[in-house]
Structures are given as structure tokens and as C-alpha cells.
């Protein structure tokens, strides 16, 4: 078969995001911060989210090391959720994790994900699904985190 099938995973958009990730920087004063590890490979993502008084994502940034899929997914995620409300962002995280597991979603939900929707192909590479979902998980967990650091049980550990 050779590497042709790789084209369906490593689309140009994905490679562009991983070569030149968007919002790849720390936000020292962010209201929400989290560090997550991909246990299988040790890749780490630090996600900083700054919510305004109306729970809207005013700014978002990430740092850390990872493979092409995890880096581009994080970049596309930050593009997609910038300016969204906390509720919207959580909904998008749910759409994304359903999408890569092969569950159907209304087209409008998928459109909302913008570039990130292209990662639906990762579902045919089961070993890589975690790479794609890591940043979305981080988003979900950071947003559900209470000021005391505990995380709402509300399916926040999904997929772990």
C-alpha cells in the first residue's frame, strides 16, 4: 500500500498547522491553566485560557511538545474556540471527541470546528486518536476546573 494512505491523515492543512502552529505561546495571567500528558508517548500540552467576565474565551494559548497530529490539533482547536463562550467551547469539545470516534454529528456542529473538522480522518488510525483529542480534552478539563483545582466529574475524564 505504501504511504498514499498517509495523505488522508497528514493533509496539507494539518501539516501547515503543525509547521506553523497558531497561538503557541503561554498566557501568564490566564484564568484557566492545565497541563495534560498523553500517557502512551509522554507528550505534554500546557493550555492557558483567559475567560472574560461573561465566560467568553478572550485569549487562548498552548505550549508543549508533540507529534504532528497533536500539535496541529491544538493549533486548530485554539483557532476554533477563540471568542466562543465556555458553553460553546465545551459543546465543540464534545463534537470533536465524538467525531474522531466515528459518531455522526449535524453538519452545523462540524462546521463550527473549522479546520479541526479535517481531523475526522484520524478515526481510521486508531492508535492516533489520543494524539488528536489531547488538546480538546485539555480544553474541556481546564474549563470544568473549579477555582480550588478540582475537576467537575461531568464527563471530564472522557476517553482517558
Amino acid at each position: 500500500m505504501g504511504l498514499e494512505r498517509l495523505n488522508s491523515l497528514y493533509r496539507e492543512v494539518i501539516l501547515d498547522h503543525s509547521d506553523h502552529p497558531h497561538h503557541k505561546h503561554a498566557l501568564p495571567d490566564a484564568t484557566h491553566k492545565i497541563t495534560l500528558k498523553n500517557p502512551t508517548c509522554g507528550d505534554v500540552i500546557n493550555l492557558d485560557i483567559d475567560l472574560d467576565d461573561h465566560d467568553k474565551i478572550k485569549d487562548i494559548g498552548f505550549t508543549g511538545d508533540g507529534c504532528t497530529i497533536s500539535q496541529s490539533s491544538a493549533s486548530m482547536m485554539t483557532d476554533a474556540v477563540m471568542g466562543k463562550s465556555k458553553e460553546q467551547a465545551l459543546h465543540m469539545a464534545k463534537t470533536f471527541s465524538d467525531m474522531v470516534m466515528g459518531k455522526k454529528h449535524p453538519q452545523a456542529d462540524l462546521d463550527e470546528l473549522q479546520d479541526a473538522a479535517i481531523l475526522s480522518n484520524v478515526m481510521t488510525f486508531p492508535a492516533r486518536i489520543k494524539c488528536a483529542t489531547l488538546s480538546w480534552w485539555a480544553l474541556q478539563r481546564a474549563l470544568l476546573k473549579q477555582p480550588d483545582g478540582s475537576v467537575d466529574s461531568d464527563d471530564s475524564d472522557k476517553g482517558e
Binding site: 505504501g2 504511504l3 498517509l6 496539507e12 501539516l15 497530529i69
Partner: protein, 415 residues
């Protein structure tokens, strides 16, 4: 290179399949090896004809199962040249054996201020048990680091191992660096200071002749599944006088001498350390794997892998942008080859190689302190065994080239 071993491939039905439309090239043997028909048949035969619990019945099947189980122990004893079968304890695997030593010998003999010396290239199984023991006891855990060529720094070892040292625990062969460590020398050093030496043989026993008496190790642990036996079975070798003095690991059936209401006595070796119903079929399968390896000869296995490494390593190193870790001299490198491609994450590399039917591992290989020490988060790793051929090595080389090209240019621009 046309090793006579090339035909052993036919003994491994699992290798005769296509993955992603290509003939499977299985290069993840350091994680687990494949099983030959001989082992699969031994398991089936045991379950079809002899299965019973051991040492517990007077009926015929119990006799047969017990004979099979004890025969397997003696096969392993001979294979590693242990003085007595009672010094060969069946465990769940290498991890289990190392934990056994840490929580029995370690618990009884380590106190505050003592030192335990391990190496920075240890697998987590030969690291965390000592780390946690040291933490529990207020002892100090010290690390032997590496030379530039990925070998243990023996000068540092000589300084670290002192009269304060109570335990030295080091891998016989690394599961990342492809290094064979001079454990005979380290055991001698440990003994000179009154310490004991624990060898992690997980990556050595499957690939080379091991003689525990010649090495003069006090304990030596390994897993069945990396030497073509079943999962869930392993071996801990220990010197009799140490095993005799140690408290049991687990309590329950089979490991007792006599049980009173308030006290108990323990069974003789090795049963003192084999509490509860054991993995009897696993032991039988391991015995069959030992027979299989003995039939081929460990020197032949070692020679075959060495030829593959001699062939492959210079060719890998010659590929622009490929970084190979561990000794650069093929003669010092086992069939475990960790590598990275420039500007590419090993996960992406492993997915690409899988598309070519080449199975390798990517990750930290359960050796995070080593990764941190080397300044890496992860590597890809190809690991060879006796059924791998030069054709497999060539497939890896081609797949690496194509992966490099795919990510560097070409295909990605066509989309």
C-alpha cells in the same frame, strides 16, 4: 548474509500475514516476541491432555500437570545454568520478580542511610521498586550515568558503589540503547562492598546465552513473553541462601509449611515464593520456548542478530537526518535500535512505517529518566529477533526513506 535461521520464520504463523497490504515485518520484539508453533502446540497439548492443579492432588492428571510444571522449571534452570531448580521461582514476569526482591529482600535489609545504586538506562520496572523502597526507608537512590557512546560509565560506577551500598540493580541489556552492560563486573564490584547485585535480564535472556553462576548475580529476573513464551509467566533466579533468609512475598495456598491459628511456617523453596495457583500452562509454554531456543542454540541466535545489526546499523546511520541512539559500533549494539528522524515526531514515524507493514514502537519505552537524561521526549525503536531477516532490515530502510520523503516534500505538496 544467508543465515540458516531464515527458515525459522515458518514456525511463526503470525508472521505470515499482510498488514496494510504489505508483508508484516515485525520489529517490536523488545516489547514482546511472537510465539512459534511449538509453543502454541505445547499450550494446547497441556490443556487438552494434562491440565490440573499442581502439587495438590493424587489423581493422575494432577501428577502429570505437576510433572510438566516442574519439568519446565528444570528446563529454565539448565537454560540459565542455575545451580538448583529450587532457586528458579515462577513469577508473573520480570516486573513481578523485581518487585518481589524489592519488597522482601529490600524491605528486610534496607534502612535509613543505606544506598541503592541503579543506572539511568533502567526500565521503570527496575527503577520504581528501588525508588519507592528508598523513599520508604529513608535510603538514597543513586544513578550510574552514561558515556558519550551510550555505555555505562564504569568509572562513575566504581565511585558510587561504596560500603554504604546495599543493593546494585542494573539491566543486563538495555531496552532502548541496545547496550549490553558488564553486569559480571558490576556484581563483583557490589560484592567487594558487601552489596548484592540484581540483574534485569528481560532483554538479555531471549537473545544471548546467560549463565547466572558465571555472572555471579544474586538475583536475576526475566519475562517469558520476550523469549517466545506466553505472557503472564516469568522467572526470578535467586541464590539459595538469600532466598532462604527472605520473608515470603505473598501469603496463601501452596506457600505454607503449617498453618496454626495465630502463626504459620513457610514451605520450602521455591514454593515459599509461589503463593496461590500459579500460571501452570504459562510455565509449560515457557518450557517449550526454552526447548525451541535451545534447539537453535543461543549462540546461533546471538550471531544471527549480530549479523543483522552489522548490516543495518551503518546503513541507518548513513541516512541523512536519521539519529541512532546507543553505541555506534555494531559489535556493541544489540538488535534493539532506538532512532529518530530529524524534525519528525516518532509517533508520526511509527504510523508511516505501519502503513508500510513495518511494526515498530514509538514512545518513552518505560524509561522516562533515560529520555530526560538524553534530552528526548520519545524515540522510535526497531527491535529484531531470530526470525527477522535481512529482507526485513531492507524493508525498514526503504520505509524510513519513504517516510522522510513523504514528510519533507513530494506527497504533501500534491494534496
Amino acid at each position: 548474509m544467508d543465515s540458516t535461521l531464515n527458515k525459522v520464520m515458518n514456525d511463526f504463523p503470525i508472521l505470515n500475514q499482510k498488514v496494510n497490504d504489505e508483508r508484516l515485518v515485525y520489529l517490536d520484539n523488545a516489547a514482546t516476541a511472537q510465539r512459534p508453533n511449538q509453543v502454541i502446540k505445547a499450550l494446547t497439548h497441556f490443556y487438552q491432555t494434562d491440565n490440573a492443579n499442581v502439587h495438590r492432588g493424587v489423581h493422575t492428571l494432577a501428577e502429570r500437570a505437576t510433572a510438566d510444571y516442574e519439568a519446565a522449571r528444570r528446563k529454565v534452570q539448565k537454560f540459565i545454568n542455575a545451580p538448583e531448580p529450587e532457586e528458579v521461582i515462577f513469577t508473573k514476569g520480570c516486573t513481578d520478580g523485581l518487585n518481589l526482591v524489592a519488597s522482601t529482600y529490600g524491605e528486610a535489609n534496607i534502612s535509613a542511610g543505606d544506598e541503592i545504586v541503579i543506572s539511568i538506562m533502567e526500565h521503570h520496572s527496575n527503577l520504581i521498586p528501588w525508588q519507592q523502597l528508598a523513599n520508604r526507608k529513608g535510603a538514597t537512590l543513586k544513578y550510574i550515568h552514561l558515556t558519550a557512546d551510550g555505555e555505562l560509565d564504569l568509572d562513575e560506577a566504581a565511585q558510587l558503589i561504596t560500603d554504604k551500598t546495599k543493593i546494585v540493580a542494573v539491566a543486563h541489556a538495555s531496552n532502548v540503547m541496545g547496550t549490553v552492560n558488564p553486569i559480571k563486573q558490576l556484581a563483583k564490584l557490589a560484592h567487594q562492598h558487601g552489596a548484592i547485585f540484581v540483574g534485569d535480564g528481560a532483554q538479555a535472556v531471549p537473545h544471548m546465552a546467560v549463565d547466572v553462576q558465571d555472572l555471579d548475580v544474586d538475583f536475576y529476573a526475566f519475562s517469558g513473553h520476550k523469549m517466545m513464551g506466553p505472557t503472564g509467566i516469568g522467572i526470578l533466579y535467586g541464590k539459595r541462601q538469600l532466598l532462604e533468609a527472605m520473608p515470603p512475598y505473598q501469603y496463601g495456598g501452596e506457600m505454607i509449611g503449617f498453618v496454626h491459628e495465630q502463626d504459620s511456617t513457610w514451605a520450602e523453596l521455591p514454593y515459599k515464593f509461589e503463593a496461590g495457583t500459579q500460571n501452570i500452562a504459562g510455565a509449560v509454554g515457557l518450557g517449550a520456548a526454552v526447548d525451541y531456543l535451545t534447539g537453535i542454540g543461543m549462540d546461533a541466535v546471538h550471531e544471527h542478530e549480530q549479523q543483522l545489526v552489522n548490516y543495518l546499523l551503518p546503513k541507518m546511520e548513513a541516512i541523512d537526518g536519521v539519529q541512532v541512539y546507543g553505541p555506534q559500533d555494531p559489535a556493541k549494539h544489540t538488535g534493539v535500535i532506538a532512532f529518530n528522524l530529524e524534525n519528525l515526531h516518532p509517533h508520526d514515524v511509527a504510523t508511516a512505517l505501519d502503513m508500510e507493514g513495518v511494526a515498530v514502537r514509538a514512545g518513552h519505552h518505560c524509561a522516562q529518566p533515560l529520555m530526560t537524561y538524553l534530552g528526548l521526549t520519545a524515540t522510535a525503536r526497531a527491535s529484531f529477533y531470530l526470525y527477522n531477516t535481512q529482507a526485513d532490515a531492507d524493508r525498514l530502510l526503504v520505509a524510513i526513506q519513504e517516510t522522510k520523503e513523504f514528510f519533507n516534500h513530494g506527497s504533501r505538496k500534491t494534496k
